[in-house]
Symmetry: C2
Subunit: 115 residues, 2 copies
C-alpha cells in the first residue's frame, strides 16, 4: 500500500533532517534514499522536496554548497547545522506525541472488550 501524502504532510522537513543526520546529501539522493527506505511505498515529489530544502535553509537548519563533480549534472549538497539537529530532535518528539494522540483517537474503544 502506498502512502497518502496528506498523512505525511508536516513531516517532510523532519524526514529530510533525519536523512541529513546521517551525513551530507543532495536532493536527488535524499529522495532516492527515502524511496529505498520505504521499499518504494513513498517518494517526495520534486517540488515538495526542493521547497522544503529552501525552507530549511531559510530557517538556518541546513546549509548548502555545490559539489565539485567533474562529470554528470551538478549537485547541490546540504549539510545539517547545529540548529538543524536541535530542530530535528524537537520535531521528532512532536511527531511522537502526535502519533500517540492519533493512535488513541483512532482506537474504537473497547466496545464489548475485556478491559
Amino acid at each position: 500500500m502506498s502512502v497518502a501524502s496528506e498523512l505525511i504532510r508536516g513531516n517532510t522537513e523532519t524526514i529530510i533532517l533525519a536523512q541529513l543526520m546521517k551525513g551530507d546529501g543532495y536532493g536527488y539522493m535524499v529522495n532516492k534514499a527515502i524511496l529505498n527506505l520505504t521499499g518504494g511505498r513513498f517518494e517526495l515529489k520534486e517540488a515538495t522536496l526542493y521547497t522544503a530544502f529552501r525552507r530549511l535553509e531559510d530557517a538556518g537548519c541546513i546549509v548548502s554548497y555545490w559539489g565539485d563533480e567533474t562529470t554528470g549534472a551538478r549537485r547541490r549538497y546540504y549539510s545539517i547545522t547545529d540548529l538543524g539537529k536541535e530542530s530535528y530532535r524537537l520535531r521528532k518528539k512532536e511527531w511522537e506525541t502526535a502519533e500517540a494522540v492519533i493512535d488513541k483517537l483512532l482506537a474504537e474503544g473497547e466496545i464489548g472488550g475485556s478491559k
Copy 2:
C-alpha cells in the same frame, strides 16, 4: 506537550469517524470527547470540525439529524453510515501504513549500531 495541528492534518475526518463508531454524537460533544481522550493535549478548532462534518456528509460517510432538545441550544446529531464504517477502516489502515513509514524515515539509522 500540545500537538502541532500540522501533524494531525489529514486525520481529522478519520478521528471524527472513529468517535462516531462508538455511537451518534453532535459536534460540540465529539470535540469535547477528543479533548478528554487526549488529556487536553488536542482539540479541533470549530471551523475545522464543522467543515470536516460537512465533507463527511457530502461524501455519504455520515448522516445528520436535528435532536429534539426541548431545552438548551439545538444540536445536530451525526450518525455513521455503512460507507462511513468502511471508510473508517480503510483510513485507519492508511494511517497505520503512514505511521510505520514515518517512524522508519525519522529513525536516524544505526550509526555505529550492530546491524
